[in-house]
């Protein structure tokens, strides 16, 4: 295994999984991955890591008490009740 090469590519792996690399660099990594199992594992686990954080992230909601206190702190008490209608329109 060409350690030098692995180290050289390390900083590009994140851009690689985002598909944000220039074509030549991307091709270079593709070629390296064919012959380097370690880097394949690193890439796979990097992808999986990002994926897991994305799928387990909570929906963007505010607990009701927190929301009420937020509206009070903003002097928006009169609008607190709109929750129900807005909830329904959320995806």
């Amino acid at each position: 295994m060409d350690h030098q090469k692995c180290r050289h590519l390390l900083g590009s792996l994140s851009d690689y999984v985002d598909g944000e690399l220039a074509e030549e660099v991307c091709a270079e990594i593709d070629r390296h991955l064919e012959e380097c199992e370690n880097c394949r594992i690193v890439i796979d686990s990097l992808r999986k890591t990002i994926y897991l954080y994305k799928v387990t992230s909570e929906p963007p909601t505010v607990p009701e008490e927190v929301r009420q206190r937020l509206y009070l702190s903003l002097d928006l008490e009169e609008f607190i009740e709109r929750k129900a209608s807005n909830e329904a329109s959320k995806p």
């Binding site: 180290r7 994305k54 937020l70």
Partner: protein
């Protein structure tokens, strides 16, 4: 990841004029994402709530001067991120009594760390990777990141902002965003590999014994 991409159907004119109903709509639309970000940034519900309130109080005050050069959501993210970083700074300096820079990565994050954990754990069943215990571990892993890396990771990979939007929020270059994101992801990969790799090994050992 769609909530950030929503069309910004707010009347800037009304918002700048201090229209309360329009501002309430803005709060309703964005308080969820800002609270989620604050919680993950400061790791404490009370601090997160303070950040949330401060964010919208400051936004309301600043709206008359909002120039519309960035989108409303980017602008709100910027206020929330600054508030969260300030809350972290206050707490850290109060508890440790030392000054730490939270705009910069910690010294040990200032280089590309070579992967230590090279284990294939991708074969684990998803249910095991998403168990309550695994999620708690993943939360803890985020907390080990310096605020500088954590912020970029949360904005890019959790909130779904683009590199350019994240750069705008943090007022740094896109190159800096990419570098920090890379370091954050690689560190998290390392920590998750440690955790899940062990489980994958246990599983295959059990299978080898015919259990």
């Amino acid at each position: 990841m769609n909530q950030e991409k929503r069309v910004e159907e707010f009347s800037l004119e009304a918002l700048r004029a201090g229209d309360k109903a329009e501002f309430a709509r803005l709060v309703e639309a964005y308080s969820g994402v800002m609270y989620r970000l604050a919680l993950k940034m400061v790791e404490d519900p009370q601090d997160a709530e303070d950040v949330l309130q401060e964010t919208f109080i400051k936004a309301y005050r600043a709206l008359p001067n909002f120039d519309g050069r960035s989108s409303l959501s980017t602008w709100l993210y910027r206020i929330a991120t600054n508030e969260a970083l300030m809350a972290l700074r206050r707490r850290k300096s109060a508890s440790v009594g030392q000054t730490i820079s939270i705009e910069e990565p910690a010294p040990n994050e200032d280089y590309e760390q070579e992967p230590i954990q090279i284990v294939d754990w991708c074969c684990l069943p998803e249910a095991e990777m998403m168990s309550a215990e695994a999620r708690a571990y993943m939360e803890k892993a985020i907390e080990t990141l310096s605020p500088a890396l954590r912020t970029v990771f949360l904005l890019r990979d959790i909130e779904g902002l683009s590199t350019q939007e994240t750069a705008e929020v943090l007022n740094v270059s896109e190159v800096v965003v990419k570098t920090r994101l890379s370091r954050a992801r690689m560190r998290l990969r390392e920590l998750l590999s440690e955790y899940f790799g062990e489980r994958a090994a246990r599983r295959s050992a059990a299978e080898g014994e015919g259990l």
